[in-house]
């Protein structure tokens, strides 16, 4: 155990997660920055924690059961139809729109087999107001671009610096951590979730069969 004058291992360990969040004040950050190179134990904790975050934040960790999208689309289509009957301005359009929903659903299903997503990340958070000339870093095999020095750059030896504009043109998406200021700030607030009890029409056998597969 190495005891730095300013900060000891116990304190470092307690603050290490806040450190990665950028939630420690400048004095503590600087003390920790000095502590890590001198303390193998604490730097091993830091590396491990970064590794954990990098692995679990990977979109491959989010899998859905087979047929999930199909069942969801079907459920939505059914309920959109049910709601349509209650909206008087809409009811005249019910039949053609319902047909369109089914048609579009079929098309989308067919398209989904061939169409490649435009971005490297399927559930990317689009950024806003990123200065096009800002220099950013990408690495091979990754899907995101980072500000230089971001803690979450993987595969650092393959780093490549380019402009944000170019990175986005190549389909890279902004890092959710170092580029957070360019993502929409979420202020979802309190949601009043009064859902009309939509008539349950979800008893069809198709659905059951799909689940059984």
């Amino acid at each position: 155990m190495v005891n730095n004058e300013a900060v000891n291992c116990e304190r470092v360990c307690r603050e290490i997660s806040n450190y990665l969040e950028g939630e420690v004040d400048a004095a503590l950050r600087s003390a920790m920055d000095q502590h890590f190179p001198a303390c193998q134990r604490c730097s091993s904790v830091l590396e491990g924690m970064r590794n954990v975050i990098r692995l679990y934040s990977d979109e491959r960790m989010m899998e859905v059961p087979a047929g999930f999208g199909r069942r969801l689309e079907k459920k939505l289509a059914q309920n959109v139809r049910v709601h349509g009957t209650r909206w008087s301005t809409w009811s005249a359009w019910l039949v053609p729109v319902a047909a369109l929903v089914l048609f579009a659903g079929g098309l989308r299903l067919a398209n989904s087999l061939t169409a490649a997503p435009p971005l490297k990340s399927e559930h990317a958070q689009p950024g806003e107001g990123i200065p096009p000339d800002m220099l950013v870093v990408v690495t091979s095999g990754a899907k995101v671009f980072h500000a230089a020095g971001c803690d979450f750059i993987h595969n650092k030896q393959t780093e490549r610096t380019l402009t944000a504009k170019q990175a986005m043109r190549e389909g890279y998406v902004p890092c959710l951590r170092c580029m957070r200021e360019y993502l929409h700030t979420a202020v979802a607030g309190h949601l009043a979730l009064e859902v009309e009890a939509a008539a349950e029409t979800d008893t069809d056998e198709d659905n059951m069969q799909e689940r059984g597969q």
């Binding site: 360990c13 997660s17 969040e21 939630e23 193998q40 134990r41 091993s44 904790v45 491990g48 924690m49 590794n51 954990v52 975050i53 692995l55 679990y56 934040s57 990977d58 979109e59 491959r60 960790m61 989010m62 859905v64 059961p65 999930f68 069942r71 969801l72 689309e73 459920k75 939505l76 289509a77 309920n79 959109v80 709601h83 929903v101 579009a104 435009p118 971005l119 399927e122 559930h123 990317a124 958070q125 689009p126 950024g127 990123i130 095999g141 986005m168 043109r169 998406v173 902004p174 929409h184 700030t185 979420a186 202020v187 979802a188 607030g189 949601l191 009043a192 979730l193 859902v195 009309e196």
Partner: protein, 220 residues
């Protein structure tokens, strides 16, 4: 389609504009476009529900219901919020509500107050052995990681999933779970430390030690 022509030279911006455009259209009554709007987030919605309900069927039901609620409430969505976060928060509300409804006798969470005070001492290693992201290509590695996460107590797991997997910020995580920011930070620290130790134990058991084959090479 008109929306396909927007700013093709900049996929990033095009994607934002396309989402805003889709939201506006659905808000004006183009209901049939709703699935297109939420499709990019279906995995995140499902993962959020699964983190809370821990059962695939329940999670899928909750995810579907949450999407329906988002549809019904789409006019309440304001452009200053991130759509994905709004959707995830609806999902969490739905999943928490289901858990409360289904669990008349509380089995978990009795000790919710206790161990936040006590310190967790991470295991001592000389060095951290980096687990490469490429190993996530292997189903069994993903499964091991999911299993490790599942062993955490609910209060740690939920905070970790919302912050580190769903990418909500600390404040949003606190609001979504109805706990304080300080609790989120404490639980997050604990969750990350425990997962680090579990993964290190996984190294010892050989979860990550071999990659099936390098990119581009055939395994045969």
């Amino acid at each position: 389609m008109a929306e396909a022509n927007i700013l093709l030279h900049n996929p990033e911006q095009a994607s934002t504009m396309r989402e805003q455009d889709l939201i506006a259209r659905v808000q004006r009554g183009r209901n049939e476009l709703f699935y297109e709007l939420v499709r990019p987030y279906e995995r995140r919605v499902y993962a959020a529900a699964l983190a809370i309900l821990r059962n695939e069927t329940d999670a899928e039901d909750a995810a579907q219901e949450a999407m329906l609620k988002a549809f019904v409430n789409i006019r309440q969505f304001r452009a200053e919020a991130r759509f994905s976060t709004w959707l995830i928060q609806i999902t969490i509300n739905e999943a928490l509500m289901r858990r409360r409804r289904e669990r008349t006798v509380v089995m978990e969470g009795i000790d919710d107050r206790r161990d936040e005070e006590s310190d967790y001492v991470p295991r001592d290693f000389a060095d951290w052995r980096e687990i490469p992201s490429e190993s996530l290509e292997r189903k069994e590695v993903r499964q091991k990681l999911a299993d490790a996460l599942a062993t955490l107590d609910r209060k740690y797991r939920e905070v970790f999933v919302l912050r580190d997997m769903e990418q909500l910020n600390i404040q949003e995580t606190a609001e979504a779970l109805g706990i304080s920011v300080a609790s989120v930070k404490t639980r997050l620290l604990r969750a990350r430390l425990m997962l680090r130790d579990l993964l290190a134990a996984g190294w010892e058991q050989g979860w990550f030690s071999r990659l099936p084959f390098e990119k581009g090479n055939k395994p045969w």
